[in-house]
């Protein structure tokens, strides 16, 4: 039997790899056909709201200018299955880093969705009031040893969490602006 050259073998090996990659990609895509409302990325908030029929969404109406964060969010993720969740990532104007994460998830969710901004160390949290809601403010150190803050509260069965590489005053201002009323 004629022996194949190394080049031919390498070509065949590359083909098999492409085959495996394609198979895995298709297998990863099939569940989204069977269950359409699982976590996926959206190009805009309106499209996500429309597609998942989200009625209540807490969007900030104020972001301090000096934070240099860009609105609309650079990344929007949402799901209705296995529980409802909405995630927004805001980037800085002059870099690809994420400076603010806003997450809204069902309070009865079986597990937590880990925020993209990783908190390395936290200090003791303090109870604060945001427009008459009891919230917890946690000063922390995030990825790259950047000081950051986390604030979260339960808004009628929805846990709203904000993590920002900004001061406590700024995050509280942003959090307040997500809620209606003065």
């Amino acid at each position: 039997m004629k022996k194949r050259s190394f080049g031919t073998k390498l070509f065949l090996f590359t083909i098999t790899l492409l085959l495996v990659t394609a198979t895995l990609t298709v297998l990863n895509w099939i569940p989204s056909l069977m269950q359409k409302q699982t976590m996926k990325r959206f190009s805009s908030i309106d499209i996500a709201k429309k597609e998942l029929r989200i009625h209540r969404l807490f969007l900030p109406t104020y972001i301090p200018e000096d934070l240099r964060l860009v609105w609309p969010p650079a990344e929007i993720y949402a799901q209705e299955v296995p529980f409802s969740a909405f995630i927004m990532h805001l980037r800085y104007r002059d870099s690809r880093d994420i400076g603010l994460v806003i997450q809204q998830a069902d309070a009865n969710a079986p597990y937590q969705i880990e925020p993209l901004i990783k908190i390395k160390t936290t200090n003791a949290g303090s109870q604060i009031s945001i427009k008459d809601r009891k919230a917890v403010l946690i000063p922390a150190v995030c990825d790259g040893n950047v000081p950051c803050n986390e604030v979260s509260w339960n808004e009628n069965g929805t846990i709203i969490t904000l993590i920002c590489k900004c001061s406590a005053q700024d995050i509280v201002k942003i959090a307040s602006s997500t809620l209606p009323g003065p």
């Binding site: 073998k9 098999t16 790899l17």
Partner: protein
């Protein structure tokens, strides 16, 4: 609760090691075709990748990228995310996570019944092989010549009075080849030399230690269906390798074929029900391996081993590792 377990580190380890094994198995099997691998020596090494790598892949990836298991990686970087499937509940009755877990429990049961219980049974019936009736000068001389040819310490030979064909090597450091009187009677000198050389090659290759180490990996992956299959294939590959080496030494494939043929086993007719079915399945798979070995010896005869391609092996291993990283 099942989803929560499968999202925990132990759950992710179990899920991903099974997936990594499947991916490794597919890549290895396709590599045999792509790299044109027919030699069992090479196949043995490639199959070891399927058995060994998935044991370490998940912890290794977690060390390299701790956020690999987070949803963000799964959604944006991963090629295949197992959670998308496990969270499915197609008929609204049973989530796929429960089906997956039930499947792993079934595999674990097979492992316990097929591989753990026989060890305990074997221990309680250790004297099944019978007592050693001593050796024969002709066999000793034959073993002496084989041992000097392949440079191993001559193993002792133990003949047992048995009406069945038995030929096994015992021990890890000091080896003893146990041979039944029946085998000595039915095989001629060349055939016996072939059979004893095969056992001596096992000693030369340190097959028993290798098998024990591979078995250890198999135990670690007791729930893994791929390990269940691949462990057997690796052990079978070892038999093919020893056959090829034997023939390269004795230059007599026909004698080894005749020796192997004497090991065909047909269960007794008296057995009933489940015992009969079990015996039939076991003897069928035993005879199938003998068929394959004979077939292989007929095809290759005195052909030498192919040169092992380390470049293609390393490339295949790297691809398995990269693909595994993208399968969460």
């Amino acid at each position: 609760m099942i989803i929560r377990f499968l999202s925990s580190y132990p759950g992710m380890y179990i899920t991903q090691s099974v997936l990594h094994s499947f991916v490794a198995l597919i890549i290895v099997e396709l590599s045999f075709f792509a790299w044109d691998i027919r030699d069992h020596h090479a196949k043995f090494r490639y199959r070891l990748l399927t058995l060994t790598l998935p044991v370490f892949m998940f912890p290794l990836y977690q060390i390299i990228t701790p956020q690999r298991s987070a949803w963000y990686f799964r959604l944006n970087t991963a090629l295949f995310d197992s959670q998308r499937w496990l969270e499915l509940n197609p008929l609204g009755v049973l989530p796929l996570a429960a089906v997956f877990l039930a499947f792993l429990i079934a595999i674990t049961t097979v492992f316990v019944v097929q591989e753990i219980l026989p060890i305990f049974r074997e221990r309680s019936a250790r004297n099944d092989l019978g007592t050693c009736e001593g050796t024969r000068d002709t066999l000793d001389a034959m073993m002496e010549s084989i041992s000097s040819e392949i440079s191993i310490t001559k193993p002792s030979i133990c003949i047992i009075e048995e009406p069945l064909p038995i030929l096994v090597t015992q021990g890890f450091k000091d080896h003893t080849i146990v041979v039944s009187s029946h085998l000595i009677e039915v095989l001629d000198e060349d055939q016996l030399k072939g059979a004893l050389t095969h056992e001596a090659v096992h000693i030369m290759r340190d097959s028993s230690t290798k098998t024990q180490l591979i078995y250890l990996l198999r135990i670690l992956m007791f729930y893994n269906p791929v390990s269940l299959v691949e462990f057997r294939r690796v052990v079978h590959d070892d038999e093919f390798i020893c056959d090829a080496i034997t023939v390269s030494i004795t230059k007599n494939p026909a004698a080894l074929i005749a020796a192997i043929s004497s090991f065909y086993y047909h269960p007794a007719q008296g057995l009933q029900g489940l015992s009969q079915m079990k015996e039939r399945i076991e003897s069928h798979s035993h005879n199938l391996l003998l068929d394959e070995r004979i077939q292989k010896l007929r095809e290759t005869g005195l052909e030498g081993n192919e040169r092992f391609g380390w470049a293609s092996f390393m490339l295949t291993a790297s691809v398995i590792l990269v693909m595994g990283y993208l399968v969460v």
